[in-house]
């Protein structure tokens, strides 16, 4: 058995005073210690298996504790089943809760009829999925809340993906091929609050406009915005086709919209990517199986879910400041953008 070392033992081997050891290990910089001495003390401490005395804060060694968390979804269960993006986040949450030994005590859903009332007495923490502002009249204002796919406030942890960066990657990719006109198909974005729905301009749409404006190529009539489902993608592309004079390429804000759009193009016998190129964002599983396989920016949604859980555990273990996390995105180049037939300019 390796005994737990004391400051005295460390001091002896490192050949310094106990007070020096104490200062080094508590990072006291008002007292100047040479670099070499500091390193020596730390290494001796480590090799002697020095452990801080357990403080009031919980630490990882405190194993017996099992936590209950609640998960609040922005949408109904039926809606979630139609949206692989949110389903994947949920899977990430469930898997990681399993890994970490957390129990998902309750699943709440935000519905339009009544604002969610959350019984916070039965949960240790709340994970919110989707763009929901929640101001809780909670008896426990310091109950940790982690937001996934949204950043609610500075004080609560958040996990998101950078939609503006994802949009830039998609647009840059399409612009590489020299497509002179790029259209946009997207949805209206909003945040659900206790007072109602707040619409805001989606970051993908903003980036699309900005990048074309920079080149003096932006045209309002090439933008088609509606809601976010497959059906909407189909309808919006149908409108674009009917208008005639289709852009050479489309940046579609999500895979579901893109899949609907592909269908509309097929029905009108317009060849993708030979006549119209498509690129989108999400990277849901089915995107590689549609015809043609969709070029898209993959969002690591399962990772977003599991990171949300990890942040929650970290909070429950005592972290008292907020962290904001962005999960990377990755451009998956497939056929719908024209990569097999065109070379980038």
């Amino acid at each position: 058995m390796i005994p737990i070392a004391t400051l005295k033992e460390i001091a002896k081997i490192a050949k310094v005073s106990s007070s020096t050891v104490s200062r080094v290990l508590s990072s006291d910089y008002s007292f100047s210690v040479s670099e070499e001495t500091r390193r020596t003390v730390i290494e001796v401490a480590r090799s002697l298996n020095y452990r801080h005395k357990p403080g009031k804060k919980k630490n990882e060694l405190d194993e017996g504790r099992k936590w209950n968390v609640g998960v609040l979804f922005w949408c109904s269960e039926q809606f979630e089943l139609t949206d692989p993006f949110y389903m994947s986040i949920r899977q990430g949450i469930e898997k990681e809760c399993d890994n970490q030994g957390l129990t998902i005590k309750r699943i709440y859903r935000w519905s339009d009829e009544d604002s969610s009332t959350i019984e916070d007495s039965e949960i240790d923490g709340l994970i919110v999925v989707g763009k929901v502002e929640c101001i809780f009249h909670s008896k426990r204002p310091d109950m940790p809340i982690v937001f996934v796919d949204h950043c609610s406030s500075v004080e609560h942890d958040s996990v998101q993906f950078d939609a503006a960066v994802a949009a830039r990657k998609t647009m840059e990719h399409l612009l590489h091929f020299g497509y002179d006109r790029i259209g946009y198909i997207g949805g209206n974005s909003y945040i659900r609050t206790l007072e109602g729905i707040n619409y805001y301009e989606d970051e993908r749409q903003q980036m699309y406009k900005r990048m074309l404006e920079e080149q003096g190529k932006f045209k309002l009539e090439d933008m088609f915005v509606g809601s976010w489902g497959v059906e909407d993608g189909y309808k919006l592309m149908s409108v674009a086709i009917k208008n005639g004079n289709l852009p050479r390429a489309f940046f579609v804000a999500s895979d579901l919209l893109a899949i609907g759009a592909l269908r509309a193009l097929h029905e009108s016998e317009i060849k993708v990517p030979e006549q119209v190129a498509i690129a989108s964002i999400d990277g849901i599983d089915v995107s590689k199986y549609v015809n043609p396989p969709l070029t898209t920016v993959k969002v690591y949604t399962e990772e977003m879910g599991s990171t949300g859980v990890k942040l929650m555990v970290d909070r429950l273990l005592g972290r008292n400041y907020a962290l904001h996390v962005m999960v990377e995105t990755e451009l998956m180049i497939r056929e719908s953008c024209g990569s097999l037939i065109f070379h980038p300019i």
Partner: protein, 348 residues
């Protein structure tokens, strides 16, 4: 430096052969070792904290099996003059100590020479400061996990940053609240180091300052003073600002060390802080509360940045996570005594 002793080390000190050491420590009675020799070997082994290989291996079945390297982008002297980086490193070391993880190697970036770092036996590398790790990620050590602190580079590795623009905005908003309109900026030039090159870019604090001032129509090029980082530079730049005349009523200074230099320059000129010039800066190093007057500054939780880097690294190594994460650490305005409010008619 203290290392885990090997049989060879013990043999050397005890002045016996390695075979003898091995036999003694394994309690091999088939070989006759004089009592005195045996005691000597055991004593030396204890002193050097020798652990049997099996014991060592058992201990390393946990997180302690990971070998981490630390890359720091500046020299030791610079680290001491800018406690921000020192504090990040402390955060890393303390978290490693807490978890019993070995920092196997420390590298310092030396500008102008191509660093040939031996990374082959490391599981992970934590890089502190503005070094673009692409050349590491693109090299043959493809299993090496990298976490950068205080540098946004490629996305393919985890990164811990604080929102510099936000910090500058917090500081500047405070000055606006106090009624200041003539505001100057003192800051440094930022570079990101690559394998053989360095790239200059406009620091986010400077960018935020220019943007916010321009939005209000208050930006004056003459009130921007950019030089090197560090106390000496802060001193020189403020001296220059004072000599220029028509001095702003407030300054946003990019970091505490520069602000401390600036305070000295103001003091030498006979002007007073905050009565005649208000100063706000960014960092909240320990010294900032002890200078005269105590500095109003934006606290950056730098030690927590180091700590978070270790947590990210462990998460990568343990869970085999594939997607990279970028974590932003909060900042908060700490109001002390170096600023005061001004009324409209006081502005020149």
């Amino acid at each position: 430096m203290v290392e885990i002793a090997t049989i060879k080390d013990i043999a050397e000190l005890a002045e016996v052969s390695s075979a003898t050491v091995s036999r003694v420590l394994n309690n091999d009675l088939s070989f006759n070792v004089p009592e005195e020799t045996k005691n000597k070997v055991i004593e030396v082994a204890k002193r050097l904290n020798y652990k049997k290989k099996a014991e060592r291996k058992r201990k390393t079945d946990e997180a302690t099996e990971y070998k981490l390297g630390l890359l720091i982008w500046c020299s030791e002297q610079l680290e001491y003059s800018d406690p921000y980086y020192l504090s990040i490193r402390v955060g890393v070391e303390r978290e490693c100590l807490r978890r019993g993880i070995d920092i196997h190697r420390v590298f310092r970036w030396v500008e102008g020479t191509s660093q040939d770092m031996n990374l082959s036996d490391l599981h992970g590398l934590i890089s502190i400061g503005k070094v673009n790790p692409s050349f590491i990620l693109n090299s043959k050590d493809t299993n090496l996990q990298v976490v950068t602190v205080d540098c946004i580079s490629s996305e393919r590795c985890d990164a811990v940053v604080f929102d510099l623009e936000k910090a500058a905005t917090q500081a500047l908003d405070y000055l606006f609240e106090l009624g200041h309109q003539r505001i100057g900026y003192i800051g440094g030039t930022t570079y990101v180091f690559s394998k053989d090159t360095k790239e200059q870019y406009v620091d986010e604090r400077q960018r935020a300052f220019c943007r916010l001032m321009a939005e209000k129509g208050l930006l004056r090029e003459r009130d921007l003073h950019i030089g090197g980082w560090g106390t000496e530079s802060g001193y020189r730049l403020m001296k220059r600002a004072i000599e220029q005349g028509d001095i702003p009523s407030a300054f946003l200074i990019a970091c505490d060390p520069m602000a401390i230099g600036a305070l000295r320059a103001i003091d030498e000129s006979g002007l007073q802080v905050p009565e005649e010039i208000s100063i706000v800066s960014i960092d909240d190093i320990e010294l900032s509360q002890y200078v005269n007057p105590p500095l109003t500054t934006v606290r950056v939780f730098s030690e927590e940045m180091g700590k978070t880097a270790v947590k990210l690294m462990l998460d990568r190594l343990k869970s085999g996570r594939e997607a990279s994460l970028q974590v932003t650490i909060p900042t908060e305005l700490v109001v002390r005594k170096s600023c005061r409010g001004v009324k409209k008619d006081e502005q020149a």
